[in-house]
């Protein structure tokens, strides 16, 4: 036998070649808490470098004072190296404890291609993957919108299967239950608008025109927009969370396997409820906002009758209808984005949280986009 040639020397790890055998000697404590444990790469380098591949890998663990999984995972790595290089792995040279654990760990071979784990891709490939994902998502959204439209059609010809009791319940959740928060926000909006108006108009002695400002701003824009934002955060998010949770717990699958359409049973009632309640809430917010303006006007020395007279002159039916027309669409936007994100939800609780966030973000985004489109349309129509 050749003389042992030490080729790697560390405190805890010594690798030597003795003929066609590679001896791995470990010493000292081998625990997870021990700092500076040698890495299995040392073994890999040694196996690869020593000219001819060793035939067998043997272990001498007599110097190991204590060990835990740290040792076993090191050995597992060595085993992997052996498998890769077709080197024999000498189980028998291991003490019985680590040997048994290692046997267990290697009993079921690593399943190849369990999942096409995406290796790090180059830039172009990443763009491609991203584009494919976005495209698939766009198709999904279109599919959902199509399904909703079909469900609506069946609703109008009276063939949709759903429960009116669900509609009433949702109307209560998204309508009545939202009154306090809508009241608060609309009142404060009126208040704020009035103060802003006062700053600009007082120098010109036109304090009375804060009635115009509050009235028009509330009726045309702020009431529907603020209600939209509130509903998106409140109702849209809750739609997404409800449907997402139902998806995760297979409740939607259960509905499907009964031959019932989740779109009709779950989405349609929510759409109807919000479609009906949103304009009502907007209307209500209009008046509360004007009342907020009135409070400010009174503190600034205007009288109740001055303010109301001014505001009734300023706000005509056209202005009202501008706000109302928008509110119908806003209701649909909030309902659809909320339900869409809920139905798209993945299969974990984390996915539900994500669906909720996405519902609010896309809800508000689309509200603003729609509002901008309406602004252009109404301007063109001179409304």
């Amino acid at each position: 036998m050749d003389t042992p040639t030490p080729s790697h020397d560390g405190d805890a790890l010594t690798i030597t070649r003795e003929g066609d055998a590679l001896w791995v000697r470990l010493r000292g404590p081998w625990t997870l808490m021990t700092g500076n444990r040698p890495l299995p790469t040392a073994v890999r380098t040694e196996v690869a470098q020593g000219g001819a591949l060793p035939r067998i890998m043997r272990f001498d663990l007599t110097g190991v004072t204590e060990y835990d999984s740290a040792l076993v995972s090191f050995l597992l790595n060595c085993h992997d190296i052996c498998v890769a290089t077709k080197t024999q792995f000498d189980f028998e040279s291991l003490p019985v404890g680590p040997r048994q654990l290692l046997r267990l760990a290697t009993a079921v071979p690593q399943v190849e291609d369990v999942r096409p784990r995406l290796a790090r891709q180059n830039f172009l490939a990443q763009i491609g993957i991203w584009a494919q994902k976005e495209w698939a998502e766009a198709l999904e959204v279109l599919q959902f919108l199509g399904d909703c439209t079909l469900a609506l059609r069946r609703f109008f010809v009276g063939r949709a299967r759903f429960r009116w009791s669900d509609v009433w319940l949702e109307m209560q959740h998204c309508g009545v239950d939202a009154l306090p928060i809508v009241t608060l926000i609309a009142f404060l909006m009126g208040l704020i608008l009035a103060y802003v108006g006062a700053v600009t108009l007082r120098p010109y002695g036109g304090l009375i025109f804060i009635a115009n400002l509050v009235g028009l701003a509330m009726v045309r824009e702020m009431a529907s927009m603020m209600t939209g934002v509130l509903m998106s955060g409140r109702t849209g998010a809750s739609f997404a969370a409800q449907l997402g949770t139902m998806k995760v717990s297979e409740e939607i699958a259960a509905l499907r396997t009964m031959g019932l359409s989740p779109i009709e049973y779950l989405v349609l009632p929510r759409m109807i409820a919000l479609f009906l309640m949103f304009p009502l809430l907007t209307l209500y917010a209009n008046f509360v906002g004007m009342f907020g303006g009135l409070v400010v006007a009174l503190t600034m020395g205007l009288s109740y009758s001055q303010y109301t007279l001014q505001i009734t002159n300023a706000v005509d039916l056209t202005n009202f209808s501008v706000g109302l027309i928008k509110s119908f669409f806003f209701g649909i936007i909030v309902a659809v984005t909320g339900c869409l994100r809920g139905m798209q939800c993945g299969n974990s609780s984390a996915a539900v949280g994500e669906a909720t966030t996405r519902a609010v973000v896309s809800g508000i985004t689309w509200l603003v986009v729609a509002d901008a489109i309406f602004a252009v349309i109404f301007n063109t129509l001179k409304m």
């Binding site: 077709k86 949770t245 409740e251």
Partner: protein, 276 residues
């Protein structure tokens, strides 16, 4: 394929199942006869639930088809599909009760949707179904207020509500105590004998496989193919698939050490992989 060739109650032909690029199982072909209790066996993660989801139409096959009474289910149009779905009762792995409804409402739901029964009749039927699964008196509980095992049983009651032609179970007895699990097995056999229900059950409870299954399919995760098909009692002695033998013998065949003939390197033989 002609109708006569597909005379079985359920016929699965060359079914390949995949999630995206990841193929779960390839080329499954089997039949389930009318009134048969058919078990889908396999290790954890082998694709049992996935197969069930393909059979009930929640997932689309990568390729292959599923027929019911010789009628193509995979490519059926919406109307036909809905008709076929009405004959199914499905119990999901986690129960999947509608959490916003009480147990009674859950069980009553299919009755209200698909029958013209009056309120009183529905209440009685619901009480009966809940009693059958040992949940009498829990009518007004919400799913969140009962245990996981109770949810499963309630889910079974809902699946049975319409006396379906085919009952699908995903791991019915997982999470149940031995007595309830046993009662469930008896209930399944009872349903089959009295109503002629065909039962497809996903399970890895050996006791229940041997007690109730007329025939079984084994999904072999290592080859991603069917690892055996037939009566589990005969399969146990006769199969030449090592994974299946291991499975049916509670893994008691044991792990063995073997040697690579080429290099002489020792390695532990994985279940069913006596060196490929």
């Amino acid at each position: 394929m002609t109708k006569s060739e597909l005379s079985a109650h359920i016929s699965v032909r060359d079914l390949t199942m995949a999630y995206g690029d990841f193929v779960v199982m390839r080329d499954l072909t089997f039949e389930v006869g009318r009134g048969e209790v058919f078990a889908i066996m396999g290790g954890s993660g082998s694709g049992k639930s996935t197969l069930l989801r393909h059979m009930i139409g929640l997932l689309k096959p990568e390729s292959g088809r599923v027929y019911y009474d010789g009628v193509d289910f995979t490519d059926a149009d919406d109307e036909q599909r809905t008709q076929m779905l009405r004959k199914f009762g499905v119990m999901f792995q986690g129960g999947a009760l509608w959490s916003s409804q009480t147990l009674a409402e859950n069980v009553a739901f299919p009755l209200e949707e698909f029958t013209d029964l009056g309120e009183e009749d529905i209440r009685e039927t619901v009480a009966l179904k809940l009693a059958l699964v040992g949940l009498r008196g829990f009518e007004d509980f919400y799913p969140a207020e009962i245990s996981g095992g109770m949810c499963k049983r309630a889910s079974l009651a809902r699946a049975m509500a319409l006396d379906p032609e085919i009952l699908f179970f995903d791991e019915p007895s997982a999470g149940l105590d031995p007595v309830s699990a046993r009662r469930l097995d008896e209930l399944i056999l009872e349903l089959r004998d009295s109503l002629g229900t065909t039962v497809v059950v996903v399970t890895h409870e050996l006791a229940s496989i041997f007690a109730i299954a007329d025939r079984a399919i084994f999904l072999d995760a290592s080859t991603r193919r069917m690892g055996g098909l037939g009566d589990p009692k005969t399969l146990r002695g006769q199969t030449d698939n090592e994974n299946l033998r291991l499975f049916l013998n509670r893994g008691m065949v044991g792990l063995q050490l073997s040697h690579d003939p080429a290099t002489g390197a020792p390695f532990v033989v994985a279940p069913g992989r006596r060196k490929s």
